[in-house]
């Protein structure tokens, strides 16, 4: 144990760096690696030597290259940037040069490292809190007292409009048919007769049953008479009305069949 420690001490700098290289997959990117390297300076992050850090990082990349360990592209991008930063920090400022000064760049890198460290620390404090389901608990048996199941039907305005549009445009493609303005359907006559049958206990002329609006024009009247007559036949067959005609072509009378 003691001898191991002594041996390691002698090799500390390269040994630690090589351990880092071997563990390169364990780093969450170059900023994370820089943060780890910065710890070896054993100073407050605010007083970190960015120049020294840049050299550490470049040394790391150099050793990785020698060991033929392939580094991901973003590690190499960071290396290039740090090499640039290093030159800026070492050379006297050139007034003709544009862009931020080496000090500004270094200060920002230091800020990024400090911020990342702070977020790490905050994450650890967050995870160390008492947590629901670990340290404190919700009701173990949420009550299902009187749970009512209700179905809610939903429809959007768009669906409503589309449904209507579908109906209206369907007419465009309906097979051609005569418009039936002047035809009273037998079904309609039947429905109408059935509805008013209760009000005709006595013999009443068939003509009196023609609907409003169907008594004037001859065409409409003829259609209404025919349909209403057919409807009375249907009702007679059902045993619901009685029909009477005194002679051929005489007016037809009908009444509700007693006890029907």
């Amino acid at each position: 144990m003691g001898t191991d420690a002594t041996q390691e001490q002698g090799l500390e700098a390269p040994g630690a760096a090589e351990a880092l290289i071997v563990d390169v997959d364990g780093f969450e990117g170059p900023l994370d690696l820089l943060l780890t390297l910065s710890r070896t300076q054993k100073v407050d992050l605010r007083r970190i030597s960015v120049l020294q850090l840049a050299e550490q990082y470049l040394g790391f990349v150099e050793r990785a290259r020698k060991l033929r360990i392939e580094l991901a592209a973003d590690y190499l991008v960071m290396a290039a940037w740090l090499a640039f930063l290093k030159s800026r920090l070492l050379l006297p400022p050139d007034p003709a040069e544009e862009g931020p000064s080496g000090e500004e760049m270094a200060a920002h890198l230091a800020f990024q490292l400090e911020r990342l460290a702070a977020m790490r620390d905050a994450a650890a404090r967050l995870m160390a809190r008492d947590r629901l389901g670990q340290d404190f608990f919700a009701r173990g048996a949420p009550e299902a007292v009187g749970e009512t199941r209700r179905t809610r039907y939903d429809a959007t305005l768009l669906e409503l409009m589309q449904a209507y549009a579908r109906l209206r445009t369907r007419d465009d493609f309906r097979p051609y048919a005569f418009e039936r303005h002047d035809i009273l359907a037998i079904e309609a006559a039947l429905e109408r007769l059935t509805a008013i049958l209760g009000e005709v206990p006595d013999w009443t002329a068939l003509q009196r049953f023609l609907p409003e609006g169907w008594r004037g024009s001859p065409g409409r009247r003829r259609s209404a008479v025919a349909s209403t007559f057919a409807a009375t036949l249907e009702l007679a067959k059902q045993g619901r009305v009685e029909l009477r005609q005194s002679e051929v072509f005489a007016p037809i009378h009908l009444r509700r069949k007693p006890h029907s």
Binding site: E147, Y153, R168, A188, E212, G213
Partner: protein
């Protein structure tokens, strides 16, 4: 985190503390806990049966009560407050095609009779469809049509307008607008298709079809 072993090993916690423990355990447990189960979880020397009695009187008359269930104990909401617990489980379902079409026709043509709806849809309207729309409070009966048989009419309700975010049914976009919005095929609709409207010449309001006569 880890409590000192000495005091808990040799002296049971004060009864008030035991009461807290029982309270927390009963609250968090998914099923009733027996006295033996409580004792097993608590430090040595505890008396969960006594703690239960204290807890029971503490909760007497509260919104939550301590009840015995078989040989176990559980916390339950007070029975007289059950009506507050009517947690509705709402299932959202789409309206059937028949229902949405019927609703659309009523919205665009109100007041409209069942026969007219059937005329437009080309199929019979089932009683269930009308009942459902009534139940949803999206349609209601309008006044009877002054035609033979005095058929009832349907109109849409305020709840309908609220649901669809309309100030009035007249805010429904017309066919031209629907077409402009790409909701319709480009072919123009034919003039009028409502057979029932011929009977409407006695001054009854003409429904919303006038909106489409452009």
């Amino acid at each position: 985190m880890s409590t000192d072993p000495d005091p808990t090993l040799f002296a049971a916690p004060p009864m008030a503390e035991q009461e807290r423990m029982v309270e927390a355990m009963l609250f968090a447990a998914p099923a009733p806990l027996s006295v033996a189960e409580l004792a097993r979880r608590m430090p040595q020397g505890c008396d969960p049966a006594e703690a239960l009695m204290h807890l029971r009187s503490r909760y007497a008359g509260r919104g939550v009560t301590l009840v015995r269930v078989g040989d176990g104990w559980a916390m339950r909401t007070a029975p007289d407050l059950g009506w507050l617990m009517q947690s509705e489980r709402v299932e959202t379902r789409k309206l059937s095609r028949a229902a949405i079409e019927t609703l659309a026709i009523i919205a665009y043509h109100q007041p409209v009779t069942r026969a007219e709806i059937e005329e437009i849809r080309g199929v019979a309207v089932s009683r269930g469809t009308i009942d459902l729309l009534m139940e949803l409070d999206w349609i209601r009966l309008g006044r009877r049509r002054m035609t033979p048989g005095r058929p009832v009419t349907f109109v849409v309700t305020q709840a309908f307008l609220d649901h669809f975010g309309l100030e009035s049914a007249r805010d429904l976009p017309g066919l031209a607008e629907l077409r402009a919005a790409g909701l319709l095929d480009s072919r123009p609709a034919p003039g009028q298709g409502l057979a029932g409207e011929d009977d409407d010449e006695d001054g009854t309001p003409q429904g919303q079809s006038e909106l489409f006569e452009d």
